[in-house]
Point group: C2
Chain length 464, copies 2
Amino acid sequence: MFLKEALILWNTDVVSMMSPLLAAVTPEYSPIILSGVLLTLIVIFIASKIGSEVARKFDFSPVLGELVAGVIVGVSAFHLVIFPEGELAGADSLIMTLVQALNHLSPAGIEAVFESQSEVISVLAEIGVIILLFEIGLESDLRQLKEVGVQAIVVACVGVALPFAAGTVGLMVLFHVAAIPAIFCGAALTATSIGITSKVLTELGQLQSKEGQIILGAAVIDDVLGIIVLAVVASLAKTGEIDVTNVIYLIVSATIFLIGSILLGNFFNTSFTAIVDKLKTRGNIIIPAFTFAFLMAFLANAIHLEAILGAFAAGLVLDETEERNELDELIKPIADLLVPIFFVTVGARADLGVLNPTVPENRAGLLIAVFLVVVAVIGKLVTGWAVFGIPGVNRWAIGVGMIPRGEVGLVFAGIGAASGVLDKPLQVSIIVMVILTTFLAPPFLRVAFDRAAEVPAPEKSLGE
Amino acid sequence: MFLKEALILWNTDVVSMMSPLLAAVTPEYSPIILSGVLLTLIVIFIASKIGSEVARKFDFSPVLGELVAGVIVGVSAFHLVIFPEGELAGADSLIMTLVQALNHLSPAGIEAVFESQSEVISVLAEIGVIILLFEIGLESDLRQLKEVGVQAIVVACVGVALPFAAGTVGLMVLFHVAAIPAIFCGAALTATSIGITSKVLTELGQLQSKEGQIILGAAVIDDVLGIIVLAVVASLAKTGEIDVTNVIYLIVSATIFLIGSILLGNFFNTSFTAIVDKLKTRGNIIIPAFTFAFLMAFLANAIHLEAILGAFAAGLVLDETEERNELDELIKPIADLLVPIFFVTVGARADLGVLNPTVPENRAGLLIAVFLVVVAVIGKLVTGWAVFGIPGVNRWAIGVGMIPRGEVGLVFAGIGAASGVLDKPLQVSIIVMVILTTFLAPPFLRVAFDRAAEVPAPEKSLGE
């Protein structure tokens, strides 16, 4: 005990003597940055697991739990996982305070370490969302779409166009939001969550019903549309101006990129299989798969679209290979480890304090949040009435089934926050919209299908 | 085509107008940093796969191939993966030059992006080596050691003490190297590579022979000793002084940390299994396992030891749980993805140019490299003669079997380079030592066992 105390004292002296010098030399910080990153990851992992388990217990999506857990450990509450945004500094972070105490860092040192570790966590979250979209791409079966056909396309298009238009115009006209953030928010309303919807449909035994198939098909299509819209909108946000030429270029290039990758899919697939077959060392499937996914993400980024569009396209392509099932299994643990970093940090970055109703300045932000939720619900609800030519179809069920937003909506909030295009009230409003639509949809979906069950509908014959 | 060109022109103007402004604002760089990280990871993945496949083809360890591939893409040759060390700047990096061209970055901007992306890749490499040691821990079966018993312990201790003492003293006396770097190099000579040795023994059908069992047992023990030595030496390097109190504190704390975790293993194991059993959402095994591994790594770091010691202890502990086999499977793809980042960057950081024999100043460095290789070979060769009480044992085979260094030696080189304690010639000498011992051991091991086969030895009865 004596030795250890003496040593700590001695250490403190040496380090405090050296700290003005250390502040200039980055390599000296490297083990401290690693400490900060490890501690942040530990907090993120524990929060994500508690959040997802609690959510599951109350029958909500695990993603929702991770998001709420992020809010709790983040800037809104415990200040464990925060980022150098606005007026936040390293001294505000509980983790940084602990790291500082352990390593006897100077105030300047703590800010340098805070900046670096936040940068690393941000990139890990971005890699997490790239892997998420890669996985979604791998799980989206484009051939399935042919079966549900035109109805799903109509529902998807109405469900993308309506909330997008109503959201954007409403924000600009009613709330005087500038064009780019308004478009960004409108776009965030477009994509239905495949994960949440398909889970609830499975529980209700309605996945194979006509309604279930239309909902799922439309959810896949509006995910694709949503990701294209995101690529376009995020690129607009980067330049900060809306230029008709630019918009046309972006829409065309995003569409060409996605359709091009699918058309070239056969070539990619045979090359991929040939390479995997030749490799005999460890990682023979996972390394080529991630090289391809990261390459597509980089290419999408290089032509000024979003990295996630590339990862999604890579997933769609590799979905068709022979190694598909093995790849699915191998990606799972990697996604399980990295995707929660994305969801937790999205929640952690969201400062719910900006919607605190007791502060008068927040009223406008609150109204925006309410407006976005209303548009999000109504904009998807009406899609049920876009279905035509199927007598007796449960329009309520289709409309309600399209309501829950999820991963893609959060991707909008995350990218909007990281790029600085969304101010805090808008960013938080999107997150509140995702949380509420996800909370509301499952119970309402049960009601909608129950009502239909009272009418003796010929469900079996609709099943195919 | 016209539209796109017009747009690029327009983009260039806007961006170049904005670039002095951008240089101050980090969030604006975030997609560019992501681009740089993705491109670097793509290069690392491709290099690691080509390297490991070529190595395998010529019957060498895949790790060796990854290391050599790192040298080729790194500072010694193609300048694709480099780090801001010495006089290297972003403009020297081919990847950064491409990223700059794609994003019209200012010279100041490119350096900021280069710093950030290098930081991210460094932390990813550090996480890679943490996962590597976690996996090695999971694979080290401590119970097996009881069977080979005293002989393996003697061989291990001789094989650690001799190269360590000869290397350290030799460097200080013959080459006038300062004490801390000399100790660091001496310590880098201690650990035999379990992976390489066990692979060659398996190929020769000698894994179950008395010699094979002694070699393997000793390799496991000297890995543990090597990691303790590394924890102590790296901590000395941080403070820059050798203080007897400090050395004693470090040796005692490293030993207590490792033995303490193993003794508490039962408690950790039941807690881990209880937690895993309760969790029902995705990642129910992998997230608790990595939380534990990162927590142990953080704790080791917090008491001024090395993060990898904690990860190794976590692996040893979880090796005893029921989920062990499932965990092994889940960790594999994660390790396959992240561990090559470590090996490739160790190679990439090593500037082989400092050993170029045509430059007169390099002669001293070259002599050091030769000296280290000789000590590394002889220091392990003599361990065969430390075996006692087994008549007819193949002493040559045991000695040669202990020669190959691998992962742990590279961990020394990597940590030594990152912490700045090793100058370039010493760092490169360690890497050359690892490469040469790994190249030499397999053919010599075949000869050693073949010579024994000429004498009609009762091999079967020695098998148990």
